[in-house]
């Protein structure tokens, strides 16, 4: 496990009586993109702050690039994009990024970086005149400074339009491609579903899931949804398959992954009576609902 650049072991944090983080263990390898999901207040931001060394843990340990969080070398190895990132409104994008580049000790090509995130035109405008999306892009530009080994992105797509979101995930892919371990805290399930390697779910400070989408899906055992469109008599098909009529002409069948082929064979055997069939595996939204709302024992 020594190759994990970010290693969290049994991390716990209590605030008063509240257990904000409860024995959370999670690791991210170089080049891996891990999504951290959870409701508001589930402990995502606290975990990120603990990784940054901004808030001390009550128990457990975290290692960032082999060092303690908050140490000089850990901070040098880490890039951070806070939720709703904000800068001093009187500075220009170029000035702000130049400051960060000096603080990081990176000799970055600031105009090229701002061009990379689509801010080339706003280089010398004050940040006070930027839109929320532009500030978010500027925040992303500072993540790219000096090839970080760990990138922590807290709600990176909040406030971005669909095209910008696409751009952002392209940049995240690029980061991961150069070997950065990326941890993305997010609510945007559909985006995360397609663009990350692994998914971790926090529920009230407890890590309830940490697996690939396929792994989560198999473990949850959520049914696959088959939707059959009937040519004439949907009622008959519903009766035959034990499914449920959803509208005039369609029938919906829920079956476990193991029963899927069997169900398909039966539907295929109906021949002309069926005009179309859609297969919907459980989506991340369903999985998230399953893991995040499961009643604790």
């Amino acid at each position: 496990m020594t190759d994990n650049v970010l290693q969290i072991e049994q991390a716990s944090k209590t605030r008063g009586k509240l257990r904000v983080l409860d024995a959370v263990s999670l690791s991210v390898a170089p080049g891996e993109r891990v999504a951290l999901l959870g409701h508001n207040g589930a402990g995502k931001s606290t975990l990120i702050k603990a990784i940054l060394g901004l808030t001390p843990l009550s128990g457990g340990r975290i290692s960032v690039a082999g060092t303690a969080p908050g140490s000089g070398s850990a901070r040098a190895a880490t890039a951070f994009l806070p939720e709703a990132v904000s800068f001093h409104p009187a500075l220009t994008g170029r000035e702000q990024l130049t400051l960060f580049s000096r603080l990081a000790g990176a000799r970055a090509d600031v105009p090229a970086l701002l061009d990379r995130v689509g801010l080339a035109d706003a280089l010398d405008r004050r940040i006070g005149t930027y839109s929320k999306g532009m500030r978010q892009r500027l925040g992303l530009a500072q993540v790219l400074l000096g090839r970080p080994r760990v990138a922590l992105l807290d709600e990176p797509t909040s406030g971005l339009d669909p095209i910008s979101r696409q751009d952002l995930y392209d940049i995240i892919d690029e980061l991961a491609g150069q070997g950065t371990a990326v941890l993305i805290a997010s609510h945007a399930l559909t985006e995360v579903e397609a663009r990350t390697d692994r998914i971790a779910i926090l529920r009230r400070g407890v890590l309830v899931a940490d697996d690939t989408l396929a792994g989560l899906s198999a473990r949850a055992g959520l049914p696959i949804r088959l939707r059959i469109r009937a040519r004439e008599d949907a009622g008959a098909i519903a009766e035959q398959t034990g499914g449920r009529r959803v509208n005039g002409a369609s029938v919906e069948i829920l079956c476990s992954p193991a029963e899927k082929m069997e169900a398909l064979r039966r539907v295929a055997a109906m021949g002309e009576a069926v005009t179309d069939i859609d297969i919907t595996p459980p989506r991340l939204e369903d999985l998230y609902r399953h893991y995040a709302q499961e009643v604790p024992q």
Partner: protein, 273 residues
């Protein structure tokens, strides 16, 4: 070491851009000039040159104005960043909290020094040109400028301390106003009350001067007054200063910024953005 300079450079840019530098300098120039002209009357009666009188008046001005300007610049140094939400990002960079504070301090002290030099310098120049100036009064002016910058440094660090302790910018502003009132007005009033109650007893003789010089604002006053007979003469408050050794006021004014900075740094270290 490069990092605090990077922060100082950016802070300076902000002070210039949000007009702080211009406004602070303008305030200093206006008040110093006004006092110089208003205070030019007693020159003949006291037998000192106009610059000396001007320095005496400006000393009184600076006791109030230097702490005020310093606190106004510094109170939101940390609380402002925390409110804006930019503190966590800044602290995720390799610069330590001490470096962040030192960077801000460097820039803001430079801005204060600039305002003091221009303000007192121009008033001094006007006084010297219209009423004459000796080498003594020039030294007094230089001393006034340097000690004002030191006094500003004290209150800059106290402003950071408040900024780190306050739950928000508004609270920090209120606490700064309170701090200013205590150090510049209430402390002296309290001492005055104590001296009146004591009726020239042991407290007034031996304790009072030390308690007084422990306040940086009073140390500033004592330093400027004790060092120049002319200034002491025209400010009429030499008595207490005489009871103290020469080093007392300078030590107080030099130690305060160091203590203030250490306290601010300790408080800043406990801030969780």
């Amino acid at each position: 070491m490069i990092r605090f300079l990077a922060i100082a450079r950016t802070e300076m840019l902000i002070l210039k851009r949000n007009r702080w530098l211009v406004v602070a300098t303008l305030i200093m120039v206006l008040f110093a000039l006004a006092l110089t002209f208003a205070g030019s009357a007693p020159t003949g009666t006291l037998g000192v040159d106009m610059l000396t009188v001007s320095v005496a008046s400006m000393t009184t001005l600076s006791v109030y104005l230097a702490p005020l300007l310093a606190l106004m610049i510094s109170f939101d140094a940390i609380a402002g960043e925390a409110d804006r939400g930019s503190l966590a990002l800044l602290l995720s960079y390799p610069a330590g909290r001490g470096e962040v504070l030192l960077g801000k301090f460097t820039a803001q002290l430079a801005a204060l020094a600039f305002a003091m030099v221009i303000g007192f310098g121009s008033a001094g120049a006007v006084a010297a040109w219209s009423g004459g100036a000796g080498s003594d009064s020039l030294i007094a002016l230089a001393r006034l400028i340097c000690t004002s910058v030191l006094l500003g440094a004290v209150f800059l660090t106290l402003g950071y301390l408040i900024s780190a302790l306050a739950p928000g910018t508004t609270a920090a502003a209120g606490m700064s106003a309170g701090l200013w009132l205590i150090f510049v007005v209430l402390y002296d009033l309290g001492l005055l009350g104590a001296v009146v109650m004591d009726q020239g007893g042991a407290f007034t003789q031996s304790v009072f001067p030390w308690v007084m010089v422990a306040n940086p604002a009073d140390a500033f006053r004592v330093w400027n007054i004790a060092a120049s007979d002319g200034v002491a003469l025209s400010s009429g408050m030499a008595g207490a200063a005489r009871a103290l050794p020469d080093w007392a006021a300078p030590v107080s004014l030099l130690v305060w910024p160091v203590l203030g900075f250490a306290a601010a740094r300790a408080a800043f270290r406990r801030v969780e953005p």
